[in-house]
Symmetry: C2
Subunit: 254 residues, 2 copies
């Protein structure tokens, strides 16, 4: 059997880097590496070329290569060991956690979401909401109540409060898009959030709306999200039918 070609040659070519692109070089390298790993061209357990050689071969400096590798290490794809090298440990990115909306998740899972806007108005924030958003008591916020369907069945009853000035919302927008998508379009990128996930039994009204029996288990989630500037973007208090939904999280600890 012929021996494998030496790993030092590697499938990453200098020609793939575009120095005229506004995309940083380190990011180009990281993206390309990620592709190769996801495509299986560099398998789990394989060691990638060492930093110095890789830098020399691609014609970039070692710090640039280090930054690219660091990026993938933080995502859990690679592991570096001093004196040993850098190894692939997982074939796909494990995002530290997905800060996305239910709507986006359902779309990507092809579960055909539909949204019914039950309420959309400006009201003074209840004390609990004001505290969560770090706003003075009684500040007005946009209050939203939505019923989210998936595959024709009700899935979740969602309540949100959004500080005025963050975004102007129309019922038609909310019916057609996820809240996070609308926020992003308005230039707000949620970056930090605190969530509390719990469970309780459905009351009569909730059960009726969600087409569950009274007393059925519901998943509850309350979340407050901030943008990169520390500005509170959204408070949400949602209930999900536990029979149809669960939260999936990928965690990584420094």
């Amino acid at each position: 059997m012929a021996p494998d070609p030496p790993a030092s040659r590697g499938p990453l070519r200098p020609a793939e880097l575009d120095r005229t692109s506004p995309v940083p070089l380190y990011f180009q390298v990281a993206s390309r590496l990620q592709e190769l790993i996801e495509a299986g061209e560099i398998g789990v357990g394989d060691r990638i070329e060492n930093e110095v050689d890789l830098a020399g071969r691609l014609g970039v400096s070692r710090p640039t290569i280090r930054r690219a590798i660091q990026y993938l290490v933080e995502r859990g794809m690679l592991v570096r060991k001093r004196g040993v090298g850098t190894q692939v440990v997982h074939p796909k990115v494990r995002r530290p956690v997905e800060l996305s909306s239910l709507y986006d998740d359902l779309v990507s899972a092809d579960r055909k979401p539909r949204t019914e806007v039950l309420r959309l108005e400006v009201v003074p924030a209840p004390a609990e909401v004001a505290t969560a958003l770090e706003l003075p008591d009684g500040t007005e916020v946009t209050w939203i109540e939505r019923l989210r369907y998936a595959g024709g069945e009700p899935l979740a009853l969602m309540h949100n409060a959004i500080p005025l000035g963050v975004i102007h919302l129309e019922a038609s927008d909310l019916a057609a898009h996820g809240l996070y998508e609308l926020l992003r379009r308005a230039g707000h990128q949620p970056r930090i959030a605190t969530q509390v996930i719990g469970a309780r039994s459905a009351g009569a009204a909730e059960a009726r709306i969600l087409a569950e029996k009274r007393g059925a288990s519901l998943l509850t989630m309350t979340r407050t999200a901030w943008d990169a500037g520390g500005r509170a973007l959204e408070y949400g208090s949602h209930v999900y039918r536990a029979s149809r939904y669960s939260f999936e999280l990928n965690l990584s600890a420094g």
Copy 2:
């Protein structure tokens, strides 16, 4: 009123850095900055000294300062804006997510945890567990069932599977310590995990063990955790009394 001293002087002194220490300089700077922010000496909204001046004043290079600041940016304490500066946005670290055990959480909340070990034996892994741990079907694992109390009341029923060779467990250890603490002591640092959180109603047996009524809502969590080297450490399938427990998560998106 006397004006505040200019921010450019700042409370960070060159003398505080120890070049003989094995602790990297960038980490010394980051730790000290974090202390100052947590102590409120640099308040939320304040801008910290710019990188070039700070580097000059502390007698280190700009990349070192950048690395220190980057460290705190990733933790959500600071925000950088090109052309503007670096600002404090949160007075305490928001850890991306806590990869810790229930036991540790209860201890720090002073809720006096107690653990009853119901089962501890080596068994062939059920198909579902083997898949989660990425082990060949039927591989033997240590199987644990524990009942966790807090404040004298039952709180959670926990099932765990741990690959042989990761750690040798005694019932007495498990009764006195959290699983994650024992893993860390054995030199295993969980770094990446996937969790699924859901809810369902208690069956008769579960209800009896957990001192709930039949049909009460329970929170469910299944988790698989890996160490930095990509080695599977633990599979867990737990149920919590929803009336007494909820998950709190701090998320951050790149």
